[in-house]
């Protein structure tokens, strides 16, 4: 792994140590390499891919193809046809919800701490065609309850669950979940929005059926994402977004869809974003997931220990920092954590997230108003963590 100072130089916003950025679960920062790759497209070959037979068009086509290949290798997919470019994870889930052949009475099983993006599409489908949405509740410490899952998965058509939760950083045991689901003839969709940037995802090894993630949490550009599906399954899905770039030809009364992956990529794509996403994956590979996890754990452990010194601070999820990826989500009874986050920002330029983190259902169920979430990444330092603790201590004195 490169020297940390060298790494931080790649992130312009971190230069000068003015900002402490602890909101990586929402959005990661972008290294210069990603920005430059996107600029290169805009400055030097900002043409259409696929459809234009000229030098610039050819170059865009080649670059997009390269990105697709990089991502295919990154998640160890069988084929590039299994990689669909989307705008984000949410779009990927909606693609599945609207393309899968659901019928009235089909059951979709989710967990009790899904991001709204993996809850609302299913609730809408419930209201639209009458599917059943089944919830698998977590254990007391918010970890996944495999036993309960094994009971609930019976008769389920699709298991749609988060891999690493943006709420508490807990990573669900995907491989076991998938095995159990497959035994029960259920397909599995994995929301990897939060995990993709922090751990190696191997779709072949996991044997996951569908998976989606976003570029913006993994150093990539905003508005980019990937929907993965096993080729055979994708071929059976009916695209819900159709139009330009999805068809081989049309007549006034007929059309022929393109094969995978184009049939799911309607309209002109975000070429700069796709190229930037490929560059982000290259950057992540260079850093290495072992190094990423090591740094995250080191900082998470320190902050967790410091937070534990305050009796009124409650950490969401298990006390063991190693189970929470780079996330420390906490709240104080009777205190609005928005105020907490605003104070940290104003006092010391420390950016953390406050609120319900798009998991409103979990907060509503537990009658917790909101929480403050610190989410660290490999470019964060222990000095930043110490600065956070120092300012947190000051705030705790006035509460």
């Amino acid at each position: 792994m490169k020297d940390l100072n060298k790494i931080r130089e790649d992130f312009k916003v971190l230069n000068g140590d003015k900002i402490v950025y602890f909101d990586n679960a929402c959005m990661s920062l972008k290294p210069n390499q990603v920005v430059e790759a996107m600029n290169d497209y805009y400055y030097n070959f900002s043409a259409c891919a696929g459809r234009s037979s000229h030098k610039l068009g050819d170059k865009v086509t080649k670059k997009v193809k390269e990105s697709r290949k990089i991502i295919t290798d990154f998640i160890n997919a069988k084929s590039e046809n299994e990689i669909i470019f989307t705008r984000n994870t949410t779009e990927g889930i909606n693609l599945l919800a609207n393309s899968f052949d659901f019928k009235k009475g089909d059951i979709v099983l989710i967990t009790d701490k899904e991001h709204n993006s993996n809850l609302v599409p299913w609730l809408v489908l419930r209201d639209k065609i009458g599917i059943e949405v089944r919830i698998c509740k977590s254990k007391e410490d918010n970890t996944f309850d495999l036993e309960k899952f094994s009971e609930l998965v019976k008769g389920v058509k699709l298991v749609s669950i988060v891999h690493t939760s943006n709420l508490d950083g807990i990573t669900n045991p995907a491989e076991e979940i998938i095995k159990i689901a497959h035994k029960n003839n259920a397909l599995v969709f994995l929301d990897c929005a939060q995990s993709i940037a922090h751990r190696k995802i191997d779709v072949k090894k996991m044997d996951v059926d569908f998976m989606a993630f976003s570029g913006h949490k993994m150093l990539g550009p905003t508005g980019t994402g990937i929907f993965y599906g096993k080729q055979k399954l994708l071929e059976n899905l009916k695209p819900f977004l159709v139009g330009g770039d999805t068809v081989e030809f049309t007549t006034y009364d007929n059309y022929k869809m393109l094969p995978l992956p184009e049939k799911f990529e309607a309209g002109l794509q975000d070429y700069a974003g796709i190229i930037g996403l490929g560059e982000a994956v290259k950057y992540l590979k260079n850093i290495g997931f072992d190094n990423i996890q090591k740094r995250e754990f080191e900082i998470n452990k320190y902050i967790t220990e410091e937070l534990s010194k305050f009796q009124n601070i409650k950490i969401i999820g298990p006390k063991d920092a190693s189970l929470r990826s780079g996330i420390i989500d906490f709240y104080i009874d009777g205190v609005d954590m928005h105020q907490f986050a605003i104070m940290l920002d104003n006092m010391a330029n420390i950016c953390i997230r406050s609120g319900q983190h798009c998991v409103h259902s979990w907060f509503e169920n537990r009658k917790i108003k909101n929480s403050a979430r610190i989410s660290v990444y490999f470019y964060n330092t222990m000095q930043e963590a110490e600065k956070f603790v120092e300012n947190l201590t000051k705030i705790m004195k006035i509460i």
Binding site: D336, H338, Q339, F340, A341, I342, M343, D345, N346, M347, G355, K394, I395, K397, I398, I399
Partner: protein
């Protein structure tokens, strides 16, 4: 409550600044939710509270703790203070508009709209001709039991009455006089002019004026206008009186004889005695329908008085 305070404060600041306008919108959204019996969940209150506390915490942890704990109560206090000060400012604005002073009719305290107190400056009576800002004692200034029948009068029979008590030598009387003329011209009010010798030797002009009015009636007003408009040093020099009278084609000899007569001098002395009954403390003092305006007010003040725009 904090969002109501914020709405008012940011609403005012938003007139001048786009960033505060955005905050005002947020505050409005919050107030609207509260008014429609919904919780204010816009995060606005927390944002403002967080910003305030993060500023305070750099200075005093104790103070920050107090503010954090009693934020709602403090907001109420600020709200009441703000309503009070807003009412005070509105009252000041109203007073300035209708009386020419933020503090009320003829009141001489500091006024932000008239910091030098120009609208209350008078030539003090019995102050040896100095022109100070005289403390307000206008409550006693009245026309009750004052006989004005011997003073020049025009537009007799009008429903509105204007009495101008001024002095030819006093700069504030000279400043107010054109506005009063304009008012009389526009409103055709019953107008009484009374000269009060507050500064310099102006009695001779009063005597001459009396005689001009006695012999030439309405031509007095042209003569009077001339005395107020022309250079004060010229009109105050007794050597120039005959030339002035001649200029108006008056019978100079006749006027001089009249002015120098014992009868005229007695009348003028009696006029001053009569004016003293008003408890006048400075010139100009202008009565508009019995209300006394002391000092040279802006024209709108006189117009408001005659239009009965004064409500309080």
């Amino acid at each position: 409550m904090p969002c109501i305070v914020a709405l008012i404060v940011f609403g005012i600041m938003g007139i001048f600044s786009a960033s505060h306008r955005a905050l005002a919108k947020e505050a409005f959204s919050c107030v609207f939710r509260r008014l429609t019996l919904r919780p204010c969940n816009t995060g606005f209150q927390e944002k403002i509270k967080g910003k305030i506390l993060s500023k305070l915490i750099k200075r005093s942890t104790f103070l920050t703790k107090v503010v954090n704990k009693h934020y709602e109560i403090l907001s109420w206090i600020f709200f009441i203070l703000m309503i009070g000060s807003t009412a005070w400012v509105l009252r000041g604005g109203y007073n300035f508009y209708v009386f020419g002073s933020c503090n009320g009719l003829n009141a001489s305290g500091f006024c932000a709209f008239d910091p030098s107190g120009e609208n209350n400056k008078v030539t003090g009576v019995n102050t040896n001709g100095a022109c100070p800002i005289v403390p307000a004692t206008e409550q006693n200034v009245t026309l009750k039991n004052v006989d004005l029948s011997n003073f020049p009068t025009q537009n007799v029979g009008s429903k509105d009455n204007v009495v101008f008590i001024g002095c030819y030598a006093c700069e504030y009387s000279r400043k107010a006089y054109p506005d009063i003329l304009k008012l009389i011209k526009n409103k055709k009010a019953n107008f009484v002019f009374a000269h009060y010798p507050a500064k310099g030797n102006t009695t001779v002009l009063a005597e001459t004026g009396y005689c001009v009015n006695k012999f030439y009636g309405d031509k007095f007003w042209d003569f009077n206008d001339y005395l107020f408009k022309t250079d004060v040093n010229y009109v105050l020099d007794p050597a120039n009186i005959d030339a002035i009278l001649a200029n108006f084609n008056f019978d100079v000899k006749k006027i001089d004889e009249c002015a120098n007569s014992k009868e005229t001098k007695t009348i003028i002395e009696n006029q001053v005695k009569e004016l003293n009954k008003t408890n006048i403390y400075g010139t100009p003092t202008i009565f508009i329908n019995e209300k006394a305006f002391v000092g040279p007010k802006p024209y709108r003040v006189y117009r408001s008085a005659i239009n009965k725009f004064i409500f309080f």
